[in-house]
């Protein structure tokens, strides 16, 4: 066995990113309870809250023929994306101290590869689960034709990428998973609640301004527009392209910040 000549100081990008991505998907599929966990809770929320509102319940400023179950549907898709993204990033905390990630950090791997592998993995899981749920859309009268899918799939991928990014950024500096649960409850859930997921913000309330700067609101809007198109009247809801554009910018920002953080903390953690 002789040592092969290697370029000094070289780090690898695509191959490790691909390996980390595949690892993420394989381990998810082998943990059935995770598959169920990220899908079941939003599904229960949707059925209970949506059904509880009753068939005659209408939100002000929304299309007349839209039941609450249908209004809440894109919000539930967001919750599935959020839960799956969070579950896939929360593992970083322990993985980095006593798991697979230790080996990644001491390997000649570019920080971009570590972030990209995790983001792509989490995105795949989140978008996959959300798409699975979206197959139920026709049951409550939402369209699911090729035009909808052509808008929906990019939306799920971009929103998923951004949410994994948000989770990564929050999880990476943490020492324990308990801390993450607190953040989940006091930061991420309110962000979701104020994203137009369960009610649109009234034009004369302060919540309107929170929604305006809430990145999740653009995600919810992109998913809603994916189903209904730009023609449907939803008050001040941004167009599909605008919502997706803002979400994409947010996703790229999350990526850049995550790379910066891994670069900074790799030698210190």
């Amino acid at each position: 066995m002789k040592n092969q000549p290697r370029q000094p100081g070289r780090t690898f990008l695509w191959l490790p990113a691909l390996a980390l991505w595949r690892r993420e998907v394989v381990r998810f599929l082998r943990q059935r309870n995770r598959v169920v966990g990220a899908l079941a809770t939003p599904l229960v929320f949707w059925l209970l809250i949506g059904s509880g509102a009753g068939p005659g319940f209408r939100l002000p400023g929304q299309p007349e023929d839209l039941t609450y179950l249908a209004y809440f549907f894109p919000g539930t898709v967001m919750l599935i994306l959020l839960f799956t993204a969070i579950f896939s990033t929360i593992s970083i905390i322990e993985d980095r101290r006593e798991g697979f990630l230790q080996g990644v950090l001491v390997a000649p791997v570019a920080p971009e590869a570590i972030v990209l592998g995790k983001f792509l993995g989490g995105m795949t899981l989140a978008a996959g689960q959300a798409l699975l749920f979206c197959l139920a859309a026709p049951l409550i009268g939402l369209p699911l034709d090729t035009a909808v899918l052509a808008r929906l799939i990019p939306a799920l991928l971009v929103v998923g990428f951004g949410l994994v990014g948000l989770g990564f950024l929050l999880a990476w500096p943490l020492e324990s998973t308990q801390g993450f649960h607190a953040i989940m409850n006091i930061f991420l859930m309110p962000l979701w609640l104020l994203s137009g997921a369960i009610f649109p913000a009234a034009a004369d309330s302060w919540v309107r301004y929170v929604v305006m700067v809430n990145p999740l609101a653009y995600g919810t809007a992109a998913v809603r527009r994916a189903f209904h198109g730009d023609a449907a009247a939803f008050g001040s809801l941004p167009s599909y392209a605008a919502a997706l554009g803002v979400t994409a910018v947010f996703a790229l920002l999350m990526f850049a910040l995550s790379v910066w953080m891994v670069r900074r903390r790799r030698g210190e953690s």
Binding site: G9, F12, V109
Partner: protein, 314 residues
Amino acid sequence: MSVPVETQQLRRLFGARVALEDVSFAVGEGEIFGLLGPNGGGKTTLFRILSTLLAPSGGTAAVCGHDVRTEAPSVRQSLGVVFQSPSLDPQLTVAENLRYGGNLYGLRGAELEERARELAVALRVDDRMNERVKALSGGLQRRVEIAKSLLPRPRVLLLDEPSTGLDPVARVDLWSILEELRGRFGMTVVLTTHLMDEAERCDRVAILHRGQLLACDTPSALCATIGTDVLTLTGREPDRMAEELQAKFGWTVVVHDGSVRVEIPRAHEQVARLVEALPGQVLSVTAGRPTLEDVFVRMTGERLCGPFFEEGKA
């Protein structure tokens, strides 16, 4: 060829706490080098600095001539790292762990498969390739971990407390594997340990205590610094025993951790005389050549690992 591992005046602070202070040593090509010390002595800090997970606060550390701070990618390419808690994914099979582990070092395809198989055979895990890691025993997991770390054919293998969590059989196994690998691949092995028997199997040992390097030499040279034999007695009243021995024989007696230690030549000849001198007090007597434990006690006045708080650990 550059020195496999070298540190100079290495220093690391955590806030105001000094974890390493003025640590300088060099490891020779092909050596099995042990970093010996109690928990909290600084070995893990040193391990993390060498594996590029922690930056030094001062001084330098280099692996194969590459500075850990400024040339981390080169250091990472020269190193195989074996962690105390396995860096394997328990949900993945052995083969998958090796494959993804190899990918991190830019290895792929037939070359990677070939190396993975070769190492699986060398570490005797080739019949477990398609089992999930979580189904394997601690000893097997450690072997898979070592196989993974050797995929890029590193010049230096760095191991953190490699026998932690292993049963005695797996521990003996681990050592025969390390020695075999060293002979076969000509690797340099650096490991941390708090176990005497492990340290005694190293070519050279650096003793770390409270962040300082107390000594660095071969185990036999370290033991030779004591020069004579060591007698260790236990009894219900060690302090009284020590006083009486000192008074009756004029020896320098040390009471340490409930046992009485005397350094005297030809210790075995003194055993009977000594027990008779302390009627009914002596519970056990051990006489023998000094061990690294004795060296450690002599240098620090402390035991390396008291049985009371070490037994419960891993």
